[in-house]
């Protein structure tokens, strides 16, 4: 049940994300080094609570940065293997 629902949510997020991106356009912005460092800290679980809250607010407005956060998490996954 949980698995079926999990797949459902992928479809729903793709619908929402793709629609948002269509409206936002295709630009590929460059993100500052310090933002990326903060995302790396977040991925590693070394952020303070207030730092994390601030980042979550930023990520809510910049869904493209979620992809960068995911990259950082995957990097740690590879390193831990």
């Amino acid at each position: 049940m949980v698995c079926a629902m999990a797949d459902d949510f992928r479809i729903l997020f793709e619908l929402l994300e793709s629609h948002t991106r269509e409206v936002a356009g295709h630009g590929v912005p460059t993100i500052p080094h310090e933002v990326r460092q903060s995302l790396a800290k977040f991925a590693a679980g070394t952020c303070e609570q207030n730092e994390r809250a601030e980042l979550i607010r930023t990520l809510a407005d910049r869904s493209d940065l979620v992809a960068v956060l995911a990259q950082e998490i995957r990097k740690l996954r590879k390193l831990s293997r």
């Binding site: 619908l15 629609h19 500052p32 992809a67 998490i73 996954r77």
Partner: protein, 255 residues
């Protein structure tokens, strides 16, 4: 790219539009019963379903007044069956909203600023062709807006980027079971909110959660939009020489 996946459907539609009677008969035979069953299951009466499908077939082969044939709008970006079902569902929604408007008009003391029968609820008159997608997006956005930004981020990471609940737990310094509980609660709340929003907007529309997800996945608009997501690249980041070397080492050790 997706148009190629449905090239046989597109070629079939071209034959119908060129006036091939056998292809036109085959189109009706193949899809009529499925569209009828779908419309009745979603809340149309038998008569409404028959009338809507008759109109769709008529518009498919020859357009109304100066409009081109409906089938010429099929771009091969999704299965023909899904496209027809979406067209039928959009028309059913438009019909039911017009009926609701007429009922509103007949109520004593009725006062409405707009005289447009299509403008019921939050939808514009031009939304007839995208009624179902608009409804899906509206209900989804409403449901997600009730979640905290933190929960939405967790859900996104898990479902869009295949990040595990264990990895989420490490980021938040939570136990994996707490992440699991939080996400399951959020999924159930979103599901309930989506269905209640649809019920509130179009009370006659019979949709289960499974129907809702299926329509999202089958929607031609979704297929169009998925082409956009395929093209999107993540933002470029500044990397130091050391970081680039580390990444190269990781990739080469994987190989």
């Amino acid at each position: 790219m997706q148009a190629r996946a449905y090239e046989p459907d597109l070629a079939f539609v071209r034959k119908v539009l060129e006036g091939d009677e056998t292809a036109a008969d085959s189109l009706r035979r193949k899809h009529h019963a499925k569209m009828y069953a779908m419309l009745c299951a979603r809340g149309a009466s038998e008569t409404e379903a028959e009338d809507l499908i008759a109109d769709i077939w008529s518009d498919c082969f020859r357009g109304r007044s100066r409009h081109p044939a409906l089938l010429s709008k099929y771009g091969g970006r999704c299965a023909l069956q899904s496209w027809l079902v979406t067209v039928a569902l959009n028309r059913l929604i438009a019909l039911k909203r017009r009926q609701r408007f007429q009922l509103d008009l007949s109520e004593p003391g009725f006062q409405r600023l707009t005289a447009d029968p299509n403008q019921v609820g939050p939808f514009s008159p031009s939304s007839n062709e995208t009624a179902i997608t608009d409804l899906l997006l509206l209900s989804l956005r409403k449901a997600f807006s009730l979640c905290t930004a933190e929960t939405v981020l967790m859900l996104k990471l898990v479902h869009l980027y295949d990040i595990s609940q264990r990895e989420i737990g490490r980021m938040w310094r939570w136990h994996e079971s707490k992440v699991c509980r939080q996400l399951n609660r959020a999924r159930n709340e979103i599901k309930a909110c989506v269905l209640s929003e649809i019920q509130r907007t179009d009370p006659w529309l019979k949709l289960t959660w499974e129907d809702f997800v299926q329509i999202c996945a089958d929607s031609p608009d979704f297929s169009d939009l998925r082409e956009v997501i395929d093209d999107v690249q993540v933002p470029q980041v500044h990397r130091s020489k050391k970081e680039r070397t580390e990444e190269l080492n990781i990739s080469s050790s994987e190989r």
